[in-house]
């Protein structure tokens, strides 16, 4: 047995976007064991939601759980609260929620792709991807009035309407984005350096993914067809707007890139369908009821399945709110997939998981 070295990464490191700590045990530059510590940013949001904020205000608090998937958290909470107060929201509100979730997915996936490129040592592609991502941020600002914290979903519906001018600009900007996305797909799939670095790195098999309960693009790249948009129809009508499952078989960094890129095409189609078939009607269902009972909601955030549990006791304050972020499910799979890889490809593998530890630790 040759000598083993322990190399720590994090909690603050230039190639990490998130406060997480990995300890790699390496042998001849091969990773043989990984330890992960992820709870660096506990903010006590769940407790605050049950003690300091009324249940209508909580949707703005949970929007601050994550910067990237703000709308997923807000929407998931709004849905769980709507189940507790037993109301059905208008169809227009459902469609607008789907529109913003998909725009958010576009910018989140492009951010992840750009960081994979950066951590693989391809800085120019990082800048190019970020340049193409800017349109999604501007569209989100036009729809929601803010670049990051959207505050779009409220309990009972959505806060703002989609203006016809903004809808037209979304369609136009998506049309200009299509050739740019084709270009990105071409670079990410055909670039020699990038495929040399990414093919066969961080492999997770379908069986392991299933055993470790992996979710999101991480699981879909391994061939596990798991997507909440495919399972649930009651809260948001995903299949009605043309949702399609994207899977790959390889389970490596390259496959994860490809799954994310192909999901962008699906997101674009969903957005176009939503705008073209946007139903008329109210934005909000008003109610004066207080939350009562228990409810569970699942929603597909850009990183995977987001889970909300809430319990009400007929007062303004919730009795319990439980958030399970997608990255929490992925930690076991993340640790597993490092094994047998070169230490040099570790930053790219970490970025390809798209970890959101601030979500997970809250």
């Amino acid at each position: 047995m040759s000598k083993q070295y322990e190399i720590p990464i994090g909690a603050q490191h230039i190639s990490l976007l998130e406060p997480l700590h990995f300890k790699f045990t390496t042998e001849n530059e091969k990773v043989v064991r990984t330890d992960a510590n992820v709870y660096y940013v506990h903010r006590g949001i769940e407790k605050a939601c049950c003690t300091k904020f009324k249940f209508r205000q909580v949707s703005f608090v949970v929007g601050r759980v994550c910067g990237l998937c703000s709308i997923s958290h807000t929407t998931a909470y709004s849905q769980v609260a709507e189940k507790l107060v037993k109301i059905e929201i208008p169809k227009r509100a459902k469609y607008l929620r789907m529109l913003v979730i998909e725009l958010d997915r576009i910018h989140s996936h492009l951010l992840c792709l750009s960081h994979v490129a950066e951590n693989s040592g391809f800085e120019a592609l990082f800048m190019k991807t970020m340049q193409y991502r800017e349109f999604a941020m501007e569209l989100l600002e036009a729809v929601c009035g803010n670049r990051i914290q959207y505050d779009f979903s409220i309990v009972g519906g959505v806060a703002r309407d989609l203006k016809p001018l903004v809808a037209n600009s979304i369609i136009a900007r998506l049309k200009t984005f299509m050739p740019q996305l084709d270009e990105l797909v071409d670079i990410y799939s055909n670039n020699w350096t990038l495929s040399l670095k990414n093919k066969g790195a961080g492999v997770i098999t379908k069986e392991t993914a299933m055993r470790l309960n992996v979710v999101g693009p991480f699981a879909r790249s391994a061939g596990l067809a798991i997507d909440v948009r495919n399972d649930t129809e009651d809260l948001l009508p995903w299949k009605e707007v043309g949702f399609e499952m994207i899977t790959d078989t390889a389970g490596d960094v390259y496959a994860r890139n490809m799954v994310r890129l192909r999901e962008l095409y699906v997101s674009i189609r969903i957005i176009q369908n939503v705008i073209n078939g946007l139903p008329e009607g109210e934005l909000v269902t008003e109610t004066k009821a207080f939350p009562d009972g228990e409810a569970v909601v699942r929603l597909e955030a850009p990183r995977g399945e987001l889970f909300y549990y809430a319990k009400g006791n007929k007062t303004q304050m919730l009795e319990r709110l439980k958030i399970k972020a997608p990255t929490f499910s992925n930690i076991a799979g993340m640790v597993e997939a490092f094994e047998g890889n070169e230490y040099g490809s570790v930053p790219a593998i970490i970025a390809s998981y798209d970890p959101c530890l601030s979500c997970t630790a809250r």
Binding site: R56, F60, E134, E141, G145, N146, D151, A159, R160, K163
Partner: protein, 154 residues
């Protein structure tokens, strides 16, 4: 070859970023900016204060019952919930103007915390005063109308 031509072309291409302090960045027409308040239209129901998630709006009250609106732009998250809750059209509205930076002289954190507590205390004081006056009027009406209200300087 194509890459080579691209590289040469890039020398003459303009940057995609905006030179921010000198050029304005993208801002939509209905940007979520500062919350405006029109005092003449307000009906002083304090609903905006009740719904505000971070507590950026508070009303203080003097001993005559006159209320004053206080707003902290550094605490506000610009969600527009107060505007939606406002029953009077036009009393509260959201402008497209971004909030200016806070200066140290404004003491926007500690000063606001003190103001918030003082405002709540002033309302409690007014409520107690009102109750006392009502009680005093009642006793004055029921017992001896000639006898003046005794507990004036409490």
């Amino acid at each position: 070859m194509k890459t080579f031509l691209n590289a040469i072309g890039n020398i003459f291409r303009q940057p995609v970023t905006t030179k921010y302090p000198f050029e304005p960045t993208f801002k939509p027409d209905d940007y979520r900016g500062l919350i405006g308040f029109e005092e003449s239209l307000c009906i002083w129901c304090r609903r905006c204060e009740a719904v505000c998630p971070p507590g950026a709006i508070v009303f203080s009250q003097d001993m005559e019952g006159k209320q004053t609106y206080h707003f902290n732009r550094a605490v506000c998250i610009y969600c527009g919930e107060c505007v939606r809750a406002c029953p009077k059209e036009g009393a509260l509205f959201q402008t497209a103007e971004p909030a200016p930076c806070a200066l140290k002289a404004e003491n926007i954190n500690n000063g606001w915390n003190k103001l918030y507590d003082d405002a709540l205390a002033s309302r409690e004081a007014y409520a107690a005063e009102k109750k006392r006056r009502a009680a005093a009027e009642k006793t004055a009406a029921t017992t001896n109308p000639i006898k003046p209200a005794a507990s004036e300087g409490e």
